[in-house]
Symmetry: C2
Subunit: 153 residues, 2 copies
DNA sequence: TATTGTTATACTCTATAACTATA
DNA sequence: TATAGTTATAGAGTATAACAATA
């Protein structure tokens, strides 16, 4: 037994702990920054998808965000009740709901999005500009699906 | 309006998305690696705390893992039923349960922990050794609580 | 028959409140 | 009175199944 293992027994050194804590702290910051605007980060995600490319069907939005279509229903219910988006049947396929931003929704997105980005930047503030960029780069590599499981035939 | 903002409107560029996906993929890998051993990553966390420092009271374990004491009850219930840990009243304070590993639990921890570490390493495999170390380093910085909010008096 | 949206339902994870037994 | 553990309960968040309307 060549037990040259580094004894990674400190719970605070476990990678899953580090990533989970990072996520918790980031979302706590973002939630606090978003609280004054009346919608949460998932609702902001919907607006973010719509802002550059509307109207879209509910399922298209759900697909782009990687969330369940059933989750999208309640999300859009809330945004519609707040007057942020409208839901109108798509004339070309009346099964579809065309989801579009209202003028108020567009304004709300701009201010909330600025607060959101500021919260992200605050979270990254302990890192140098270069380290922050590295952090994003490494995350993108880790979640890319081309993680070489011998793709070459 | 000097709108020199970089237009961070792609949901896949949002930091929260990157961190959440990283967490999801890591935990999926770890869960799969742990499945054959009959306990999950939270239960393994309990064993990891105990392996170097047993016996401990339930609340001490809960405190070290940062989980609720009520969550710990069910966790230890499962481990006790599987014969991995024992729960015996602490003679010096009979309110306390002294939680200790059994011999079988010690063995189970060693094999499961090796599989766990291998899963973490697989997750990090797309990164160079140096980048993997950097990733851990940046995470530690981001979750450290000494994030300089003007601590000097 | 297949698809969009919807509702109802269930499941996981976690936290809160109230209880017991000890101190 | 205060604390360790326990139970019951409730709240997010998310997923599955069944259904209506439409294609």
């Amino acid at each position: 037994m060549t037990s040259a293992e580094p004894q990674r027994n400190d719970p605070r050194d476990v990678l899953g702990y580090l990533v989970k804590q990072a996520h918790l702290r980031l979302t706590a910051r973002v939630d606090a920054a978003l609280a004054p605007f009346g919608f949460d980060r998932r609702a902001l995600g919907v607006l973010r998808v719509l802002i550059d490319d509307e109207p879209l069907s509910q399922q298209t939005v759900a697909g782009r965000l990687g969330v369940d279509p059933t989750t999208m229903v309640a999300l859009i219910d809330g945004l519609e009740a707040a007057g942020t988006v409208t839901r109108t049947p798509d004339p070309s396929d009346r099964r579809r709901n065309a989801v579009a931003l209202t003028a108020a929704g567009r304004d709300a997105y701009r201010t909330a999005s600025a607060a959101f980005t500021a919260a992200e930047d605050e979270f990254l503030a302990p890192l140098s500009t270069q380290d922050a960029a590295t952090f994003r780069r490494l995350l993108r590599i880790l979640i890319s699906d081309e993680t070489a499981t011998g793709t070459r035939p």
